[in-house]
Symmetry: C2
Subunit: 357 residues, 2 copies
DNA sequence: TTGTAAGCGTTATCAG
DNA sequence: CTGATAACGCTTACAA
């Protein structure tokens, strides 16, 4: 692998000149620059990033720390981060699936000196606090922190509002006994969605009880297994709000296997609006979270921080959620087959987030 | 951010000693080492990776280049890579969603000096050849290269065998007119699966024709739109083999909307066995590709290469595929509701790959 | 066992 | 405009 010295020697110039050519400096005569570029191309030279960042103190890379890559949602978040990042000619150092806070902190620590900033999605409040410590020397954007964080920029998903809107929607369809399958205990998205569900029931004067809150873990399997518990409830709920689409899918599968008709016997709603939701039978009524945009927003929030010479005041943003009404709750008429439309029709009600609580 | 000098000064030792402490060198008196560790901990010091890799010529990171992160399959590949990588205390530099060969080459070039090796999944043969060039100075593992590559290690998916096995299975169920929805032209997985489909028809003496090969692009939408074309065919196929699960899901959705019964009127099969396949109604008969293992294998293939002092002979591996028979082709009886089982039952027939062609 | 000092590949600061 | 040279933070002979 050739170094800048090889190019300099071969081109008959100093290393400083070669460096200038590769840094868009206009201080070089065009003829010389052209020659240097030719030699570099012939030698297949490219500046060594590590050496460069050692002196400039800029790595042109950002770190991304996620709780777990499982499923389409995170996949979309990463996609959003990845594309936005490359558009700005930055690189992504990825680290995910952290079992505990300690592993997560270790991963972030190991990134020091290799990244200019960090996008972190913490699974629980403890991790959030740990990451926050890094924000002193580091540009950090927290996704969905759950707790109030002043030290660094944050982007939150309007989980609470989305869940509450869904309950309102179900109530509007006449449902008075609405169960939920909640996500993992401690998980921030899960907790907020549960809070929104409860708030919705409360404001509408609908019955609320622990027995209506089935414990799930965001997997299809847990949704599938919830069915038994739900069907045992007296009176049987007429609607179930699942904490995410995967659990909704598992539940629908189990209900179908049990010979229960959707949405006539039981209505099922999800959260996230993953790509396949609209292709289920019945198509899933859910709350859309634009995971791609979440990733993109994080990058657009982070990069200015890394470029700034002076610390910038942290910025807090909320990604709105959108109620997407399809068939699984029985409100919309089944669609006619329309092979020409690119996307199947859905009724979409945009729900701007309210002022953060 | 403290440097090694700060620690050395604060601890009253030389930088060499601090360095030795952080490199597990036994050449340091335990009392001194303990003291240095304490000071480093207090200052929150951690070695700068860039500086370290500049001198050692090892970055402790690998690059990952993928065609596009879209969907659950790639998400699982990355997960496999990520976990296996961290287990070995390596980091992952990720870059995906490359529109063309040029963008891909640029991404790889920019990784030079920042990674010890590369895992690349190329979308087409042109990109494969471009990446191959890097293998001279770089440890490279190619995923599913499609073309024969001697220069670097490869891991291929048994796409051909899997597709052919599926055709055999469908034929065994009595289907004699089997259509397919193929993936994007030029895409290696798509081409191989199509080849397997054709080979299956040929060996069984079943009718094969271009009109039975509907063009798709691996998205649910394309599967949905294929329905119209398939239903127009004379005679109407009794089975459709979709090039991946997403297209199968789109097709199933369209057929359902059109009032066509599955599997009685038309059988549908997929490829990949993404997590939700078993929760569809009817549960999808498909070909399993263990994406997680694919990523894991790649890491286990790559790391020894990066550690080796002398170049190691490239190694070629094939990831087998497995026929997973569920309900969408009508062969298995609908499952009774069994809420206790963790996974829903499927009949699984393992199909070891044949000698590489 | 510890310290001194060279050097990894680059950019920044000066002179020229 | 161009070139010499000192950093950047670290590891590793070599010396003590």
């Amino acid at each position: 692998v050739p170094t800048i010295k090889d190019v300099a020697r071969e081109a008959g110039v100093s290393v400083a000149t070669v460096s200038r050519v590769f840094n868009q400096s206009t201080q070089v005569r065009e003829a010389v620059a052209e020659h240097v570029r030719a030699v570099a191309g012939r030698l297949d030279y490219w500046p060594n990033g590590a050496a460069r960042s050692l002196i400039t103190n800029r790595t042109h890379a950002i770190g991304v720390v996620l709780p777990d890559l499982y499923g389409e949602f995170f996949s979309e978040v990463i996609r959003g981060i990845d594309l936005a990042t490359r558009r700005e000619r930055f690189q992504v150092l990825l680290s995910s699936s952290h079992a505990d806070t300690e592993a997560l902190v270790g991963a972030v620590r190991a990134m020091r000196g290799r990244v200019d900033g960090l996008i972190a999605m913490t699974p629980d409040a403890e991790s959030t606090l740990a990451i926050r410590e890094f924000a002193r020397n580091f540009s950090v954007v927290l996704l969905d922190p759950g707790v109030m964080v002043r030290e660094c920029s944050t982007i939150s998903v309007a989980n609470f509002e989305g869940a509450r809107d869904m309950v309102r929607h179900l109530a509007g369809l006449g449902h008075r006994s609405i169960a939920t399958i909640r996500g993992p205990v401690g998980n921030i998205d899960a907790e907020e969605r549960l809070r929104g569900y409860r708030a919705g029931l409360l404001e509408l004067g609908l019955p609320s009880s622990p027995s209506l809150e089935i414990q799930g873990d965001f997997t299809e399997a847990s949704g599938y297994h919830s069915a038994a518990e739900i069907l045992r409830l007296e009176p049987r709920p007429t609607a179930v709000f699942a904490g995410n689409d995967y659990m909704a899918i598992g539940l629908m599968s189990a209900l179908h296997d049990g010979g229960i008709r959707l949405p006539e016997d039981v209505a099922v709603a999800g959260f996230d609006d993953i790509a396949i939701s609209q292709y289920l039978s019945p198509a899933l009524t859910t709350v859309r979270v634009d995971a791609y945009e979440l990733g993109e927003l994080a990058v657009h929030q982070l990069l200015p921080l890394t470029r700034a010479l002076k610390p910038i005041a942290p910025h807090h943003e909320v990604l709105p959620t959108t109620l997407v009404v399809r068939e699984s709750c029985g409100s919309s008429h089944p669609h006619p087959v329309d092979m020409r439309s690119r996307r199947r029709r859905s009724q979409v009600f945009s729900a701007p987030p309210e002022a953060a609580t």
